[in-house]
Symmetry: C2
Subunit: 414 residues, 2 copies
Amino acid sequence: MPILVQKFGGTSVRDAICIKRVAKIATDAQKNGYQVVVVVSAMGDTTDNLIDLAREVTHKPDPREYDLLLSTGEQISIPLVAMAIHDLGFKAISQTGLQVGILTEDKHAKARITEIKTEKIKNYLKEGNIVVVAGFQGISSATGEITTLGRGGSDTTAVALAVALGAERCDIYTDVDAVFTTDPDIVRDASRLKTISYEEMLELASLGAQVLHPRSVEIAKNYNMPMRVRSSFKPQDEGTLVQGVGKMELNNPVSGVALDESQARIAIVGVPDKPGIAAKVFESLAKKNISVDMIVQSTSKDGTNEIAFTVDKDTVEDATKVTKEIAKDISASGVTTDVNIVKVSIVGAGMIGRPGIAAAMFKALADTSINIQMISTSEIKVSCVIDTKDGEKAVKAIHKVFELDKVSKEKQKV
Amino acid sequence: MPILVQKFGGTSVRDAICIKRVAKIATDAQKNGYQVVVVVSAMGDTTDNLIDLAREVTHKPDPREYDLLLSTGEQISIPLVAMAIHDLGFKAISQTGLQVGILTEDKHAKARITEIKTEKIKNYLKEGNIVVVAGFQGISSATGEITTLGRGGSDTTAVALAVALGAERCDIYTDVDAVFTTDPDIVRDASRLKTISYEEMLELASLGAQVLHPRSVEIAKNYNMPMRVRSSFKPQDEGTLVQGVGKMELNNPVSGVALDESQARIAIVGVPDKPGIAAKVFESLAKKNISVDMIVQSTSKDGTNEIAFTVDKDTVEDATKVTKEIAKDISASGVTTDVNIVKVSIVGAGMIGRPGIAAAMFKALADTSINIQMISTSEIKVSCVIDTKDGEKAVKAIHKVFELDKVSKEKQKV
């Protein structure tokens, strides 16, 4: 029997009613001939509440203790899901990351999975169980201590498990119905994609579309594991299939528009034009474990450079501190930080080899009187940093320019 | 350095402020020259909330899943306590039951501890850590599955750890200041005992004084481990020392009066006078895992017997069902159940060899017009089942008759 991995996020297990819904979806899949592995996140706000508790106790929580604390979130949801499955008359057993043997690096708060033991799960499946696995957590293969995988950890657990078990597919149940051309809360005409490529999904995920975490999409892409994004509230709906083969309609160059509100912009101004300075800046940030997203370097008329980059808002204080130290070292004239920015991006494999796509996006912004602060491009993506207040306006304008409302309606007919 | 085990109950860790208070008490003990092991319960209502969640999902939770769920309660409190200790500049590490190696029988919801691995804890202590251990939980030595110890589990963990580690003492921090001659909420004159023997404490604990769980006192008694009952809200206060040697003032025959409101009474009436009937009744109850407390058998004028017994209110429905089946089998005339009863008891090693103590208690009840429904006695205890409405009145009357208000004041001076 083929194996199906189903992952349910925090909203999908937020209360007893939702948990029963999850049990129904999992047992229906078993009835349809699958061996089913369910991966669950912590219920609703559990993780946030645990983080708040830790903050009340200390400003600098020890990473080992923090991971032990956070791992309880999923350890609460898995037995509840197993009980709900039992209640429907099916066999189920829950497993923490430690119990399964989800081995990770010896790193707390953002460990990467190095290996997944599958024997135990396969035995439970053979016995007819639906196996309910805690997402987001593992154990350090070096020390046996409990680790957590950081953001998007449960998606990552699900896809990694699907790969390790040789599953037919990994279904990611979330609180949206599918992947849309843009945020439907911003553009009412935004609509659903029936399929999307890993590459496009990866760009959209990185850009804050927040449907799937890029880590999980990357694993799926590397192992060619089909994923389906769908809603636990509408289990009949097939959602969006994320896959490798080029089934997307390439006659439309842009698949989606994404708005990312999680970044802040830091700029070092008056940087002397000497080699090695950019390396120095980003090495120092990397040492502090601060991820940098966009980087733009420009030259002023006076011969000095400006180095601007964006970081996650969560890390902006640390990043600013580090940057100020470096600015002093390299005799730059100053550092500015701006948290009132957003990043708006277009994504589409269809833009490869088609000139003018970026220009069309910039024109749409210009026509709406939106000032662009930074630009960054890849083969299938164009991102612009703009003022926070212009974010939604920009998404609407771009969505319209690329006629995404029409495209998506055609796709829906399929 | 001597080892001190400190146990903190749910009220003592109910929020961040309380957790910081616990950290202070533990670090003060380390400053005073102890190697400190802290055992904690789940925060405040956490366990009750988890139980409610399980109930919302299913009526018959699977015991394995239920234990996995409940064990998260302590797994939340231990890292928080460790973090709070770090915040005071001390070393600490938290350990779940699984991580320590608290081995139990292969039985869920009420497993007994069979062995505690001490090597890991001892190493952590040697490195200068305060080791924070999750109470109430262990792992089955047969299957490695997570088990819980049932009621009073955290007290049991603490005393068992103290014994395994060869600790100097086990301090049980709770929300009362000490062991009292009776419930201070009922009798304002009730007051504190400076010391009490294991035997007396055991009777008081069994009788619903709810300060210490009898399982923990039993272990302490068997291994002669001194325990101290004290309040985490008044850490300077030494509370009550529970110990083996006869330091109690034997000139007072009664140490305390306890009121137990957790029992219900079941009676089988019109039982034919044949041998083996009592055995049949209590074997059937035992098979259903129903604990019976008091048992009284009496003969009516018509030659039939009445068998009355008390069970925990939580199990009264099951117990009544089982009893009715048996009543039918043995052709008894009927079964009555009464949940409106309480058990009032006096306890004291000093009553051994002193006639008239029980009689004095019965007289106190009679003088207050309280009807006694059942009587049960041991060497150091006399218990009477009476109507719920008479409970507090009975405690006051008995407390007065044995002049416990005066005794305790003298003891306080010591």
